[in-house]
Symmetry: C2
Subunit: 425 residues, 2 copies
């Protein structure tokens, strides 16, 4: 039995699953429209994923990167939020079941459930490596790194065992940004916080299976990135594949064994398992193949957005799993749902590439612009800051991020760097 | 075997146990002195306890109230920090053992281990009530309240069972401030965040065993406090004693049973059990009785400060367990340790009462000044803000607290209100 809507209404019901960039983009587009929108996420917050690595390295505080979904839509009378876990989707009956809430029917569905980290079957990776896809991931990683430094402070013999060393798997944006931010945290902060620990025993090793970092960027940016990381003390290993991960050791297929108590996994995504139950066409990584208007072929009332979607781009490639693609596809799905409600034809989605950035450290970033243009160094770094400030959701958060960044920039200090968990005594 | 100090030195070793107001006050006093100071706390942060209720009610973010101990003393070459748990103190051998670190010997010891919450043997209190003495306490309480509102949003039948209702036990400052802040959170924020839930079913009930709230304050402040709380929708029950607490029910000795899924315990402290192993005179609540100079009689090399200490005040009463007493006694202990190192006599500790405050809500607070003067209402509220801003440890935190308060004051919005734990997926 489906849950009765809170208000008696005959307006079309749009159900949005997922409160990431895709779901929020769709809900924003539909706010004020003549529909009843319900957005359901397993958390009560929206995550600004591009900055997760800054939470993991203690540059930003969690509330700056996670924003209350209820707050985002407080002023939208036609948007209702629930925190619940999807357990089943029945496209034929147009109904969604939840593990902890009564089912919801819909007239239109926007599917934005995101992805999960793909460990590619590497032995021990799921158990011991730290992914960086969710806010709890970032907090766990931060707490783990701090805990290892405190442990080494109590027992310096742990240093030689690799307590302070970190292996980062994957030379994409997540790996690059984590390595750069970690190097900065280590060299500028931990040298002061742990003066008795030997900093040169704190290795940061970036392992990439392919021949170069940031394969999607142009050659000059790739070599700049490598140089900038190495200048900051990061050891870059390319053409090296991780064979297995233990709590304190990373074994490479080449035979090298790295001593490291922390492993960051920045190596890929796969769709949530739920996609396999939909009975629709899936592509590599379990992503749901969309029509040009983002609907599922045969289900014009269902739109798929963000990381869970395989959205056709140029040359039979899918659009990349980026925040900007998720936000734009969410908005387009919302618009197409509204057009269908109004009896209009849907519009094919067209992604506007405004550039892809990765930041390496203070005054060091790379930007791949459309049409082959590139930026690097301080100019790219400033561009990066401006773009992310503009994307942060509210004025309040923007002010806080600015404050954090300003302090970090001017005083070379970082806020926070305490590890506090509700599980502590 | 005692741990060898990091530097070879013949300077006197001062060991400070506890990084609260007492321990930090002592370490600050000794920074730069001709001694080696080691401060050990079970966490890597100092907690600004007077504002914990604001974390619990989501007005402040945890990093604003918890500040890195290493950061506080980064610039003090003679202060070393360790995060470790004390397991035993041997006053005769002048050595402290830790659960997770090699023992440390000392020439002078400052004991500032604080207190723990006293549940006075009330059935179910330790299991189901939320104390507010530590930062993890505050985060747990915040997450629990948010979780209950989300649960009621998924299943409105929970409302009648008391899912949204809170019982606060104890009419002292912790109880008053928690009740006032919670009322504000409920009436000004949750009404917008959960528009479909019946707000009048969200009861906030303050239970006090004595005849009035804030018994240490003067009569006009006590009656003002009650009126101000009731005006904000808090139900105040005096002369009512809690008999037992279950997960969703609070039973009073009068026979009344309150339906509430959340219970806040603001009703008293007792010393940590370790004091019983010291072989020294203890007073009510297990507090260690100090000489006028804060040393332990018979142990002139040991100073006791803050909540763990029974410091003689006027009329055979001990000084109250307040942050200001802890901070001042810590500073005095540090000074006396330094005087002993220099061969000087110690000085008796004299507490300077600058007033005790409790805040009830926006523009509503009470201040009991020395010599019987009182403030209440908006004036008291402004004084409260000024005092707490001045006490916050660094410019950075002060700027952030100011930002949070400014937003809350001007826009009636609160930051955060998301519940994110490292245990989440």
């Amino acid at each position: 039995m489906s849950r009765t809507p809170d208000r008696t209404t005959s307006r079309p019901r749009v159900l949005i699953l997922g409160g990431g960039f895709g779901g929020v983009g769709a809900a924003r587009e539909l706010s004020g429209a003549d529909v009843d929108v319900t957005l359901v996420d397993q958390h009560d917050y929206h995550t600004f994923q591009p900055l997760l690595y800054q939470v993991a390295t203690d540059l930003l505080e969690p509330p700056t990167v996670g924003h209350s979904l209820r707050d985002l839509f407080d002023d939208e009378d036609n948007v209702t939020i629930h925190e619940a876990r999807v357990s089943a989707i029945d496209l034929d009956r147009r109904e969604v079941e939840f593990a902890d809430m009564a089912p919801l029917g819909y007239d239109y569905l926007v599917l934005g459930l995101g992805a999960k980290v793909n460990f590619f079957g590497v032995d021990g990776a799921a158990e011991h490596a730290h992914p960086l896809y969710t806010l709890p991931d970032a907090i766990r990683l931060r707490d783990h790194v701090l805990e290892r430094w405190e442990a080494a402070d109590r027992d310096p013999a742990l240093v030689e065992d690799g307590a302070l060393s970190v292996v980062i798997v994957g030379g994409g944006a997540t790996g690059i940004e984590s390595a750069g931010a970690l190097a900065e945290l280590y060299r500028s902060i931990f040298t002061k916080d742990y003066p008795s620990l030997p900093q040169d025993s704190a290795r940061i090793v970036l392992v990439e299976a392919g021949p170069s970092l940031l394969p999607m960027f142009k050659a000059d940016l790739r070599s700049y990135t490598r140089q900038a990381l190495e200048k900051r003390g990061v050891e870059v290993l390319t053409d090296e594949v991780v064979a297995s991960i233990e709590p304190t050791r990373v074994s490479l297929k080449s035979g090298t064994v790295l001593r490291a108590h922390t492993v960051i996994w920045g190596a890929g995504l796969e769709a949530v398992p739920l996609t396999e139950t939909l009975g629709v066409e899936l592509q590599r990584g379990g992503r749901v193949v969309t029509a040009p208007d983002l609907s599922i072929p045969g289900h014009p009332e269902v739109f798929v957005v963000g990381d869970i979607a395989w959205i056709p781009g140029e040359d039979d490639h899918a659009l990349p799993q980026l925040g900007s693609v998720a936000l734009q596809s969410g908005g387009a799905a919302g618009k197409n749902a509204a057009r269908r409600v109004e009896g209009k034809d849907t519009i094919p989605f067209s992604y506007h590439d405004k550039g892809t950035m990765a930041t390496i450290g203070r005054g060091a970033a790379v930007v791949q612009m459309p049409h082959g243009r590139t930026l690097k160094g301080r100019t790219a770094s400033l561009a990066w800051g401006a773009v992310h400030l503009a994307l942060l959701s509210t004025g309040e958060d923007r002010a806080k991020a600015l404050l954090d960044w300003t302090w970090a920039g001017f005083t070379h200090e970082r806020p926070g760097r305490i590890s506090v968990s509700a599980d502590d005594k």
